[in-house]
C-alpha cells in the first residue's frame, strides 16, 4: 500500500468521491417506500398495531394527577428547570443552525485559538452564570423542599399513620398496627396489594423486602423509594383529596415486575375509620399465633 | 521525560527506553490490580462495620499461627525474588535461577499451608457457605489471593526454566523484573489481608 501514488488533494469544497453502489440505491429506494408506507399508515385510522396521529395527539404526555401535599414542589422545580434548559437549548440550536447555514465554505474562517484572556473570561462568565442562576436556584429550592418536606419525616407527636410494607415477588404486603398501636399483634391489619389511608393525615411507611430489591412507587404522590431485603427504608406522604390510585413497582424484580401493581384508596377520615374497624375484626378472626411467616412485622422506631 | 544518558551507559543498557516503558506499564497494571483487591477490601470493611460483633456470635475466631507463618514465608520469598533480580542485573544468571527456584518453593509451600488452613478452619465449623459474611470474607480473600500466588508460581517457574536455556542477561531481563514486581504485589496484598482479616 505504500506504493500508492500520492494523489493531489482535491480543491477545498470539492465532492470527495464519485463511487456508486447499485445495491445501495436499491436499498435506498426500498427504504423510502417503507418510510412512506409508515407515514401514510399513521394518517389512516388507528389499528391495534399502528396508532393514528390523532391517537398520538390524544395521548399527550401529562403528569398523573397530584394528590399529595408535597408533590407540587417537585413539579414546580421541574417546570422551572424546563424553562431554563429550553432557553439554553434554543440558543444552542440557533448557533449550530446559523453556523451551518451562514458560515459555510464561502465564509472566511477566523483564526482564533480561543486562548486569550478575553475568551477564557467569557467562557467562565457564561458557565458560571448558568451554574449560579439555573443550578443555583434549583439547589436552593431543593434544599428548602428537602428540609421542609421530603426529608422532614413525621415525628411521633404528629400522629402519623404508620404502616409497615413488605415487598415480595410480586406483591405488596401492608401491615397496620390496629388499635393497640403495636405491630405483630392479633389486631394488626394485614392486606395484600391494598393500602387505605385517610385524607389529611401524614402516612409514614417503613419498607423491607422478602427477596429482591423492589421500589414502592406512588405516581400520584410524585414519590417512590426502594425496598431492600435485610434492611429498612422509609417514606412519608400525605394525601389532599380522596380517590383510588395505583401503586407500582419501579425496580426490576424479576419476570413479573410489571404485574406488581397495588391500589391505594384515600378515604375521608370517617370512612377510613369504618374500614379500619371492619379490617381489624376480619383480621382478628384470621389470626393464627403459630404462623411464623405471617408475623413478618417488626417493632416500630421513629 | 528520560534524561540524556552518558554514552557508556547507553551502550550497556540499549533497552533503557523500553525497560522504563515496561516498568511504567507494570506499575499501572499493578495499580489497577490493587484497585481490584481494594474493592474486595472495601466490601470487607462494609460488611464488618455493619455487623454488631466480629466474629458474629457462635462463630470461631480465625487461627493466627498458620497465617503468621505464611506471612514470614511469603516475605522471605519476596526477599529471594528481589535478590534474584539483583543477580541478573549483574549478569549472574545461575544465581538468579537458584534464588527464583527458592521463591517457587516458598510460594508452593505457602499454597500448601493455605490449604491446611482452609481444612482446619472448615473443621472448626466455619464453611464457605454457611457462616454469613464472616466466612465469606475469609474464604473469598484467601482463595482469590491464593489464585494470584499460583499464577505467580507459574510465572516464576517459567523464569527458572528459561534461565536454564540461557534466556536472560544483564542487558535484557524485562520479564524477570515484571514477575518480581508481581511477586512483591502478591506479598503486599497478603500483608494487608493478614493484618485486616487475621490480626484485627
Amino acid at each position: 500500500m505504500s506504493d500508492t501514488p500520492k494523489r493531489p488533494n482535491p480543491p477545498p469544497g470539492a465532492r470527495s468521491d464519485r463511487s456508486r453502489s447499485p445495491l445501495a440505491f436499491v436499498a435506498a429506494a426500498l427504504f423510502t417506500l417503507a418510510v412512506a408506507t409508515f407515514g401514510l399508515s399513521l394518517l389512516g385510522g388507528s389499528s391495534p398495531r399502528f396508532p393514528s396521529w390523532r391517537a398520538i395527539g390524544a395521548a399527550a404526555p401529562a403528569r398523573p394527577i397530584d394528590v399529595s401535599v408535597s408533590g407540587h414542589l417537585g413539579d414546580h422545580l421541574f417546570d422551572f428547570t424546563t424553562k431554563g434548559i429550553s432557553f439554553l437549548f434554543i440558543v444552542m440550536c440557533g448557533i449550530i443552525f446559523w453556523a451551518a447555514t451562514k458560515h459555510g465554505p464561502e465564509h472566511k474562517a477566523v483564526y482564533d485559538h480561543g486562548s486569550s484572556g478575553k475568551a477564557l473570561i467569557l467562557t467562565a462568565v457564561v458557565t458560571l452564570s448558568i451554574l449560579f442562576i439555573l443550578d443555583g436556584t434549583l439547589l436552593y429550592g431543593s434544599f428548602v423542599d428537602l428540609g421542609e418536606a421530603f426529608y422532614n419525616f413525621p415525628k411521633e407527636s404528629d400522629h402519623p399513620l404508620i404502616i409497615e410494607v413488605q415487598a415480595q415477588q410480586w406483591a405488596w404486603n401492608f401491615r397496620y398496627t390496629g388499635p393497640d398501636g403495636k405491630f405483630n399483634t392479633p389486631d394488626d391489619i394485614v392486606t395484600l396489594n391494598e393500602m387505605h389511608i385517610p385524607v389529611g393525615r401524614p402516612v409514614f411507611l417503613r419498607l423491607t423486602s422478602k427477596d429482591v430489591i423492589h421500589s414502592f412507587y406512588l405516581p400520584n404522590f410524585r414519590t417512590k423509594t426502594d425496598a431492600f431485603p435485610g434492611a429498612q427504608s422509609r417514606l412519608w406522604f400525605q394525601a389532599t383529596q380522596p380517590g383510588v390510585f395505583e401503586i407500582g413497582c419501579a425496580q426490576h424484580c424479576g419476570a413479573n415486575h410489571f404485574k406488581m401493581r397495588g391500589q391505594i384508596t384515600i378515604d375521608t377520615p370517617e370512612r377510613y375509620a369504618d374500614w379500619e374497624r371492619a379490617q381489624v375484626a376480619q383480621n382478628q378472626r384470621r389470626y393464627d399465633p403459630n404462623d411464623v411467616e405471617a408475623h413478618w412485622g417488626w417493632d416500630w422506631e421513629y | 521525560m528520560s534524561k540524556k544518558m552518558p554514552a557508556a551507559v547507553v551502550a550497556l543498557r540499549p533497552r533503557a527506553k523500553e525497560d522504563f516503558s515496561n516498568y511504567l506499564g507494570m506499575v499501572m497494571m499493578l495499580g489497577s490490580w490493587s484497585i481490584l483487591f481494594g474493592g474486595i477490601f472495601f466490601a470487607y470493611a462494609g460488611v464488618r462495620m455493619s455487623a454488631p460483633t466480629w466474629p458474629p456470635p457462635g462463630l470461631p475466631k480465625l487461627p493466627l499461627a498458620l497465617p503468621a507463618a505464611n506471612t514470614v514465608i511469603l516475605g522471605l520469598s519476596s526477599w529471594t525474588a528481589q535478590r534474584a533480580l539483583g543477580a541478573i542485573r549483574k549478569g549472574r544468571r545461575d544465581e538468579m535461577q537458584a534464588l527464583l527456584g527458592a521463591t517457587v518453593v516458598l510460594g508452593a509451600l505457602f499454597l500448601g499451608l493455605q490449604y491446611v488452613l482452609w481444612t482446619n478452619v472448615r473443621a472448626s465449623g466455619l464453611s464457605i457457605d454457611s457462616a454469613g459474611t464472616y466466612g465469606s470474607v475469609f474464604y473469598a480473600l484467601t482463595i482469590f489471593h491464593a489464585l494470584h500466588v499460583a499464577a505467580g508460581v507459574c510465572g516464576v517457574s517459567y523464569l527458572v526454566v528459561g534461565a536454564r536455556f540461557g534466556k536472560w542477561n544483564a542487558a535484557a531481563h524485562a520479564p524477570v523484573r515484571m514477575w518480581t514486581m508481581f511477586w512483591h504485589f502478591v506479598d503486599a496484598v497478603w500483608l494487608v489481608t493478614f493484618v485486616s482479616v487475621f490480626v484485627l
Binding site: 500500500m1 396508532p51 417512590k224 | -
Partner: protein, 586 residues
C-alpha cells in the same frame, strides 16, 4: 534517541489478520466485532420495542426464528433477558470495542507519531481476551434457563441465586469480568503509549483532542473497571460458592448487604459513562475544528475540562442511589457535586460552539455526524439536570425519563460519534472513499429518528411510565400511553432499518470504493501525512512535530488553509501575520 522497536512485517495469513500485533489490524478486528454486536444489541432493542408497541403479538420474522416456545411472543422472562442483554451488549460489546478498542488502537499511535503501541503483544492479548468474553456471552444464550435476566446493572439479590438461579447469569457475570480485563489491558497500553511514544516535539498540549479523549478514557478505565471487577468477583463467589456478600433476606442468617454491590457498581458505573463519551468528545472536538477550518477554540480549556470531569466523576456516583435511603447530608452532597460536574461539560460546549462560529464549515459526512453529536448531547446533558435534583428524582427515578436521558447522552451521542469516526477515518483505515450521498442519507435517517425516539421517551417517563416494564396496559394510569409507545417503537424501527444506508455503503466501499488520497480532508494531524492505508511501520521517518493539530487558516500560511503538524512554514512566506479585520455584520 533510540528507534521504537517494532515487530517485523508479518508474512503468514494467521500473523497478518488473526494473531496480529499491528495496532491497525487489531483496531479493525475490534471495529468489526463492535459492529456485529451493535447489530445484535439493536435487534434486541427492536424486540423490546415491538413488545411495548404490540403487547402479546408475535414478533414478525424474529419471533418465528428465536421464540418457538411462546409462539413468537416475547414472554415476560425473555423480555427481562432482552433488556439485560441490550444494555450489557451495547456498553461492553459494542461501544467499548468500536470507540476504545477500535479507534483507540487506530488513532493513538498514528496521531502521536509512533510506529505501534508500546506493548503490541498485550494489545493482541486484549483483543483475544475480548473474544473469549464474547464466547462466554454467547454460551450463556445457549444454556438451559436462559441468559442473564437481572438488568445490565446486575443488582443483587435479583442477580444472586435467590433471584436468578442458573448458569446463564453466572456466565454473563464472568463474560463481563473478562471484558473488563480486556479493557484494563488495553488501558495500560494506551496510557503508557501516550506517555512514552509521542513524537519529538509533541508535548501533551500538541496532541489532537482525540488522543486526549482516548487517553483520559484509558486512565478512567484503569482506575475504575477493577472496581466493577471486584463487585463481579464477589457476586460470582455468591453464585458459585454460596458466600453471603450480597445475599440476604428472610431465609439467610447473618447475610450481607445488597447495597454494597450498588456502591461498588456505581463507583465504576458513573466513571463508565464518561469512559464511553470521552472518546467521542475528543473526536468531535477535533472534527468540528477540522471541518470548520478553524482552530479548536480553547484547546487547553477543553483538555483540562476533560481532566476535571475525570476527577469529579469519582465523587458523583451517589446520584444513581438517591432512593436507597442514604443520609440526607450524603444525598445533598452528591446533588451539589453532580451539578458542579456540569461546569466542565459546559466549558466543552462553549468551546465547541465557538469553534464552529465564524468558521468556514464544510458539511461533509463526518461533520454532519459531529454536529449531530453536539445536538443530542446538548439535549441529553440538559435533561440530566432534572435527574440531578433529588425532589424531581423522587418522581423520575426508574422511569423512562432516565432511559431517555441516558440514551440521548450515552447512546445517541456515542452512536453518532462512532459513525463520525468511522466515516472520518474510513479513507485512512481502508484506503478507499465511501459514497457521500449514502453517508448523508445515513445521517438524516439516524438523527431524526434518534431524536424523536428518545425525546418521546422523556415525555413518556414524565407521564410516569416505569422502566423495564413489560406491558403498559398493566397499569391503568399508563394505558393511555400506548400510542406514544407505538410512536417510539415505529420510529425506532425506522432508525434500525435506516442503518441499511450505512451497511450497504460500508460493505461496498470497503472492498470496491474509489481509492482514497492520502489526505482527503486536508487536515494536519500526523496520520493524514502518510499513505492511506498506512504501511506496517506507519511512518518512514518519525516526524518531528512543530505545530499543534488545529492550524487552519493560519495567516502566516499562504496557498492553503491548513498546516501539517510537522510542516515547516516556507521562509519566504514568513511575515508579520495579518490580523484579518472582521467586516461589520459578519
Amino acid at each position: 534517541m533510540s528507534e521504537q522497536h517494532i515487530h517485523p512485517e508479518p508474512t503468514t495469513f494467521i500473523r497478518k489478520y488473526v494473531f496480529s500485533t499491528d495496532h491497525k489490524v487489531i483496531a479493525q478486528q475490534f471495529i468489526w466485532m463492535g459492529l456485529i454486536f451493535l447489530l445484535m444489541g439493536g435487534t434486541m432493542a427492536m424486540m423490546i420495542r415491538w413488545q411495548l408497541a404490540n403487547p402479546g403479538v408475535p414478533v414478525p420474522i424474529l419471533g418465528k426464528l428465536l421464540l418457538h416456545s411462546t409462539g413468537g411472543i416475547v414472554s415476560p422472562y425473555i423480555y427481562t433477558s432482552l433488556f439485560t442483554g441490550h444494555g450489557a451488549i451495547m456498553i461492553f460489546f459494542a461501544i467499548t470495542p468500536i470507540m476504545i478498542g477500535g479507534f483507540g488502537n487506530y488513532c493513538i499511535p498514528l496521531e502521536i507519531g509512533a510506529r505501534d503501541m508500546v506493548f503490541p503483544t498485550l494489545n493482541m492479548l486484549s483483543f483475544w481476551t475480548m473474544v473469549i468474553s464474547c464466547l462466554v456471552l454467547v454460551a450463556s444464550l445457549l444454556v438451559p434457563g436462559g441468559t442473564a435476566a437481572a438488568g445490565w446493572t446486575t443488582y443483587p439479590t435479583l442477580s444472586t441465586n435467590i433471584g436468578t438461579p442458573g448458569l446463564g447469569q453466572t456466565l454473563v457475570v464472568i463474560a463481563l469480568f473478562l471484558a473488563g480485563l480486556s479493557t484494563v489491558q488495553g488501558a495500560v497500553n494506551y496510557i503508557t503509549t501516550v506517555i512514552r511514544l509521542r513524537a519529538p516535539g509533541m508535548g501533551y498540549f500538541d496532541m489532537p483532542l482525540t488522543v486526549w479523549g482516548l487517553w483520559l478514557t484509558a486512565i478512567l478505565n484503569a482506575l475504575f473497571v477493577p472496581v466493577l471487577g471486584s463487585g463481579l468477583i464477589l457476586l460470582s463467589f455468591d453464585r458459585l460458592f454460596g458466600t453471603h456478600f450480597f445475599v440476604t433476606g428472610a431465609l439467610v442468617k447473618g447475610g450481607g448487604d445488597p447495597l454494597l454491590f450498588q456502591h461498588l457498581f456505581w463507583i465504576f458505573g458513573h466513571p463508565e459513562v464518561y469512559i464511553l463519551i470521552l472518546p467521542v468528545w475528543g473526536v468531535v472536538s477535533d472534527l468540528l475544528s477540522f471541518f470548520a477550518r478553524k482552530p479548536a477554540f480553547g484547546y487547553k480549556a477543553t483538555a483540562l475540562s476533560m481532566v476535571v470531569i475525570c476527577i469529579l466523576s469519582a465523587v458523583v456516583y451517589g446520584h444513581h442511589m438517591y432512593l436507597t435511603t442514604m443520609s440526607p447530608l450524603l444525598g445533598e452532597s452528591f446533588m451539589v457535586l453532580t451539578m458542579i460536574i456540569s461546569v466542565p461539560a459546559m466549558v466543552l460546549f462553549v468551546n465547541w460552539l465557538r469553534t464552529i462560529w465564524q468558521g468556514s464549515l464544510r458539511l461533509e459526512v463526518p461533520m454532519l455526524f459531529s454536529l449531530g453529536v453536539v445536538f443530542v448531547f446538548g439535549l441529553g446533558g440538559l435533561t440530566g439536570l432534572y435527574l440531578a435534583d433529588i425532589p424531581q428524582d423522587l418522581y423520575l427515578h426508574d422511569t423512562y425519563f432516565v432511559v431517555g436521558h441516558f440514551h440521548l447522552t450515552m447512546a445517541a451521542a456515542v452512536f453518532l460519534g462512532s459513525f463520525a469516526s468511522i466515516y472520518y477515518w474510513f479513507p485512512k483505515i481502508w484506503g478507499r472513499m465511501f459514497n457521500n450521498t449514502l453517508g448523508k442519507l445515513h445521517f438524516w435517517f439516524s438523527i431524526v429518528p434518534i431524536t424523536i425516539v428518545f425525546c418521546t421517551m422523556l415525555l413518556v417517563g414524565y407521564s410516569g411510565m416505569q422502566r423495564r416494564l413489560y406491558n403498559v396496559e398493566s397499569y391503568d394510569f399508563l394505558k393511555r400511553l400506548l400510542p406514544l409507545n407505538q410512536l417510539i417503537s415505529y420510529t425506532a424501527f425506522t432508525l434500525f432499518t435506516g442503518q441499511i444506508f450505512f451497511v450497504s455503503n460500508f460493505m461496498y466501499s470497503v472492498f470496491r470504493g474509489r481509492k482514497a488520497p492520502d489526505n482527503p480532508w486536508e487536515v494536519g494531524t500526523l496520520e493524514w501525512q502518510i499513505p492511506s492505508p498506512p504501511p506496517h511501520h506507519n511512518f518512514d521517518i518519525v516526524p518531528t512535530v512543530i505545530h499543534g493539530p488545529h492550524e487552519f487558516n493560519n495567516p502566516m500560511v499562504k496557498g492553503k488553509d491548513w498546516l501539517a503538524q510537522d510542516e515547516v512554514i516556507p521562509p519566504e512566506t514568513a511575515e508579520a501575520p495579518h490580523v484579518e479585520t472582521q467586516l461589520a455584520g459578519e
